[in-house]
């Protein structure tokens, strides 16, 4: 079934996009990632112009995280206090990101910088998660009780002034830490067209030392608000939000997210983490190859 996208000015197969949204939605519900880091590259691969892909993927991530947030909220899996701080940081971050975006766009180096940024982030995070998850799994296999890794925040976080109690997360840290984290992620949301869950989730575990139970829900909470703001920013500045494209992706992803959340409750968390890290690492490898291989198109056209 072909359908014409009014902003992208092209005809696409509706079913393919709904299925794409569905696949991303399942991952989103399972891992607490928005899925933008998969949607955007896949849409570009399908032939949708990069800016429209990024802007519309952001809209889709909002919808996918709404059902995720609700699902986790019911299970008491959202730390609202922490979430609010992350959103506040994200708000400033997305404004800063918009500035960087336009500078890079003018220089024509947007896609290269994005790819390099992705590779650095994904390799670091994916590697860290894979190592940890594998250690936990093999310890369990050997019948050893995993020496319960003391959950604690990064020493740097402890140096920040002013401390608040985050009861749901079970930590006592400075509010500046989550705000700074939110800022960085908000910037990446605009630049990369991603929710930032794949950065937030590990950062919450390894840097803030939050209780795993609330990590996914809280990250989705932040993603929900920051992507909604980013959609507005895109609508106002780039005019690149294709509501039909976003709608098609949404239909698939909101349903997928529900299945994903259910699956996540059934699967062992260590394997879940290993799965996510493998996904992240393979994406990084694909991007590295993409940078080195001769691109399919040497020339690109940009309207003046």
């Amino acid at each position: 079934m072909d359908i014409y996208l009014p902003i992208a000015n092209m005809s696409v197969n509706a079913l393919v996009l709904i299925l794409l949204g569905g696949g991303v939605g399942i991952l989103s519900g399972m891992f607490g990632v928005g899925g933008g880091f998969l949607t955007t590259p896949l849409l570009i691969l399908y032939g949708i112009p990069p800016t429209i892909a990024a802007a519309s993927a952001t809209t889709q991530v909002t919808g996918a995280s709404v059902s995720g947030v609700l699902a986790h909220w019911q299970k008491d899996g959202v730390d609202f206090r922490m979430g609010a701080l992350l959103v506040l940081g994200g708000l400033f971050g997305s404004v800063a990101g918009a500035g960087v975006f336009s500078v890079l766009e003018k220089a024509g180096q947007m896609d290269t910088i994005i790819a390099i940024l992705y590779v650095v982030l994904l390799t670091g995070i994916g590697g860290l998660m894979a190592r940890d998850a594998w250690a936990a799994i093999s310890a369990k296999r050997a019948g050893m009780k995993m020496a319960a890794r003391k959950r604690r925040h990064h020493p740097l976080v402890a140096t920040l002034p002013m401390r608040w109690r985050f009861y749901a997360s079970g930590i006592y840290i400075s509010p500046l830490a989550p705000a700074a984290l939110g800022f960085i992620v908000g910037m990446l949301t605009v630049l990369l067209g991603v929710g930032g869950g794949f950065i937030l989730v590990p950062a919450m575990i390894y840097i803030l030392g939050m209780a795993t139970r609330v990590v996914v829900g809280t990250s989705l909470f932040q993603i929900l608000f920051v992507t909604a703001i980013t959609t507005l920013v895109h609508a106002l500045t780039t005019h690149a939000v294709d509501i039909v494209l976003a709608g098609l992706l949404l239909i698939g992803s909101v349903i997928g997210a529900q299945f994903g959340a259910r699956l996540a409750a059934k699967l062992p968390p260590d394997w879940l983490r290993l799965g996510l890290s493998i996904l992240i690492l393979s994406l990084a490898i694909w991007l590295v190859l993409g940078l080195g291989w001769q691109p399919r198109e040497l020339y690109s056209v940009h309207p003046l």
Binding site: S11, V66, S67, L236, I243, L250, V301
Partner: protein
């Protein structure tokens, strides 16, 4: 440009009448193409008749060339180069002020058999004769490289098309050419031109305007996105929240 062409053709037209040359009666199948949700491209039929003096078809028949061109838009073309033998990055760029967003040409015989280089260049017949108006002041060879890169890219996305020898002329009088328009065309005012060519000369030219525009819902969406961006953004966010919440409620019911 249009005026220039008119001045150019006026003598030719007068000559046509005087020297009893064939006359052209062209038309297009559609003056207006609407892009709606199910638009996957369109086919435009350019057809018409060649009226020979006395109604007799001579042994030396005239040929037909048709061109459909879309609105021009200034663009920047970027070229990727390998940096330090490692990664591919955008390096050089060139600006073109007047490449048409769409250009298709069809003819009853291959172009090089119909007109010489000079005539082809004057009438912009053929993709390589398009006036792209490069504006960066590059070296000619660099410019040519960018031009061919741009043309190649547009050809493969079917925005530029050449169909030599695709026009049939029935009984030497009625001609028709099918031009396929891909879904990805720019919207705006198109011009369908028909050229009557004989002995390497363009005897007559006629043009018809064709409008390609979004209509209905597609038009509404495209216009709202530009005119009421904040509202449009709010609706997009609202839609995603509603769908996300709807799915959650639905699944809770199902259990």
């Amino acid at each position: 440009m249009r005026l220039l062409r008119l001045i150019f053709f006026l003598p030719a037209m007068l000559l046509t009448l005087a020297a009893s040359n064939p006359v052209l009666v062209p038309d297009v199948s559609q003056r207006k193409i609407d892009i709606i949700y199910s638009f996957t491209g369109a086919e435009l039929l350019l057809f018409g008749a060649i009226l020979y003096p006395g109604g007799r078809v001579p042994s030396e028949k005239a040929d037909i060339v048709v061109v459909l061109r879309g609105p021009t838009q200034p663009i920047l073309v970027r070229e990727k180069q390998k940096l330090g033998g490692l990664i591919w990055v955008n390096a050089e760029s060139a600006r073109f002020m007047s490449p048409p967003g769409y250009y298709a040409i069809a003819s009853s015989r291959p172009l090089d058999q119909l007109v010489d280089e000079r005539t082809a260049a004057i009438y912009e017949l053929g993709v390589k004769n398009l006036q792209l108006s490069p504006a960066s002041g590059e070296q000619p060879d660099v410019q040519r490289r960018f031009e061919s890169g741009l043309i190649d890219l547009f050809k493969r996305s079917r925005l530029y098309a050449e169909a030599p020898g695709m026009i049939e002329i029935t009984n030497g009088v009625l001609y028709r050419a099918r031009i396929s328009i891909p879904a990805r065309v720019p919207v705006g005012a198109y011009v369908a031109e028909t050229f009557l060519v004989k002995d390497g000369k363009v005897l007559a030219v006629a043009s018809r305007d064709v409008q390609i525009n979004k209509s209905g819902f597609e038009r509404f969406v495209a216009e709202s996105a530009l005119r009421h961006p904040f509202f449009y953004g709010l609706v997009a966010v609202g839609l995603s929240l509603l769908l996300g919440w709807g799915a959650a409620v639905l699944f809770r019911r199902i259990g």
